[in-house]
């Protein structure tokens, strides 16, 4: 079994997918961290010009942002959903200002969190798809499935070793993501900021943001928590990718199907947020990190536990289906 897993891992490593993923990560992280730093400098300059004061402090900038949000709130063109989201941002910002937590100046720690948050719904799943879409369908495309199945190993063992190899590789990808986004963003952002306090644990009570259970942890821990959630999302994505890869026979259609479900899911969430069934779809639940920051949820009645349960159900169902199909299927090559 261990040998099988090792073979699978070598196969993925040899296919140069890891290099592709690394390049993608470096490219994105580089662009984003450069952009973030650029915007921050612009904002400081703009602030200095407007206020005519010699120096600036993050409190001033935070207050300025607060004022702008409040002004947005008064505009009559914002839909109900937008208003709620802005109100939550305002309350959080006020909490940060009151408790002397700097939410403005970019730091490597904050960049890490931000990057995870932005990538968890689309970019991270994409990486996992690159990693796993050809896992079984690739064997069909390359006609190597014949060789694989004629060996004196039961089918379930082959599939199981592929699954375990995929999960290991997924974990390594998250680790790679953390490493790259820390080292590359360090090139552009001066502050590390891993020891700064962060507030988390914002909760919603009857649609209102509640700071009653907010606790303060260090940025390092907070970053870790975000990566842990991203890791869970990645595992679920790899289970789903795994299933699609077993069901279809070509890599292209495997990638197509998963991408379509991802993007379609995002649309669904946006247009049909009043429909109850939407919250049981996996794409709606991918953004686990938002529960840590307490941003506005488009669909009512969702919590971290709920999302985790839904995602787990999808993952387990996917794995069961793939085994069921792969063991029963007549493979004709």
């Amino acid at each position: 079994m261990i040998t099988l897993i090792r073979n699978e891992i070598y196969k993925t490593l040899l296919k140069k997918k890891i290099i592709l993923i690394t390049i993608l990560l470096i490219l994105f992280v580089g662009l984003f961290s450069y952009g973030e730093n650029y915007i921050y400098n612009q904002r400081i300059n703009a602030f200095l010009e407007e206020s005519n004061q010699g120096d600036y402090s993050w409190e001033n900038i935070a207050n300025q942002r607060l004022e702008r949000l409040k002004k947005n709130l008064e505009s009559s063109y914002i839909p109900e959903r937008g208003i709620k989201s802005i109100k939550i941002q305002i309350e959080q910002l006020e909490y940060f200002i009151d408790n002397n937590i700097n939410p403005v100046t970019p730091s490597v720690a904050r960049f890490n969190v931000e990057f995870v948050k932005q990538s968890v719904t689309l970019f991270l799943p994409l990486l996992i798809i690159i990693l796993g879409a050809d896992l079984i369908s690739g064997e069909f495309s390359d006609k190597t499935i014949k060789v694989l199945l004629t060996r004196a190993v039961p089918r379930w063992k082959i599939l199981m070793s592929k699954l375990i190899a995929l999960l290991i590789m997924t974990t390594l990808i998250i680790l790679l993501m953390a490493l790259i986004s820390t080292t590359v963003s360090r090139l552009f952002i001066d502050r590390l900021g891993f020891d700064e306090p962060v507030a988390t644990g914002f909760q919603f009570v009857n649609g209102e943001l509640s700071t009653g259970s907010v606790i303060r942890i260090t940025s390092l821990k907070y970053t870790l928590l975000n990566y842990s959630l991203a890791w869970f999302v990645a595992l679920v994505m790899s289970a789903i990718t795994f299933m699609i890869s077993t069901l279809v026979k070509s890599v292209g259609s495997a990638i197509g199907i998963i991408m379509a479900s991802l993007i379609g899911g995002q649309f669904l969430q946006f247009f049909l947020s009043d429909w109850v069934m939407v919250k049981y779809f996996y794409v709606t639940n991918l953004d686990l990190t938002k529960y840590l920051t307490g941003s506005y949820q488009q669909v009512e009645g969702m919590s971290l536990v709920f999302s985790v349960l839904v995602l787990s159900a999808w993952a387990i169902a996917s794995i069961l289906i793939s085994f069921f199909v792969f063991l029963r299927k007549d493979i004709l090559v």
Partner: protein
Amino acid sequence: MYKKIVFPTLLLISMISIVIFVSGFIESITITTNKNMSEEKEEGTMDKNKELSFSDDGDTMDILILGDSIGSGAGDEEGEDIGRRYVEMLDDKDTMNTINLSQSGSKSIDLVDSINSGEFDEIIKRADLIILSIGGNDLKEILDSSELNLLIDYDNILSKYMNNLEGIITGLKKNNSFAEIIHIGLYNPYGETLNQEKINLLMNWNYESQKLVESYAKMLYIPTYDLFKYNLESYLSIDQFHPSANGYDAITKRLYNVLNGLE
């Protein structure tokens, strides 16, 4: 050789990461599902408010204080409020009752909401004197803000405040037309650190409030700006914002003099 090392190291690294991620994952779940205590607490204070009411005895003089932290006596080292201080100054203390329904941090809109909700109706009906301290938190937002768009923000907030104040007054008058209503003006807690432009805004705020208040019968505006101007050191409490015991005393003395004549 190289191939032999790669797999075990990868395996080891991924095992360690899995352990870290799993623990982080569990931690995240515990953080977000922490049982929320604040909700229950809020309900508790609401119940306490409901229990409050003036006694049925018709002979007593009933004083009601409504509004923000200054109404509730925040900063007072002796733990008093304007109502109780006022009672202390009177001769027949025994026939006096005070009830304080002020909430620290209230803005004018909050008071409008609580008056309109009807939860204070019974208390308002029985009051003989109502002391109103509101608007400080509305204006504070402007005074604390950076210089940008100051005037536009100010005009917005002032006009909202004036609407709210009118709502508060009509709400009170609807329930009780015989009580004297005192509106406490705003002082400048920032002293000379506040620039002239903002001081002008503060004075205009007070002026607008006074104009509105004085347009009603049985309503009186009590200025505090002049009281505090040269006495910030002794009239401000340790937080440099709320009045100290001395500050409250000064406001109450003025109130007493206005209502009872100089002795």
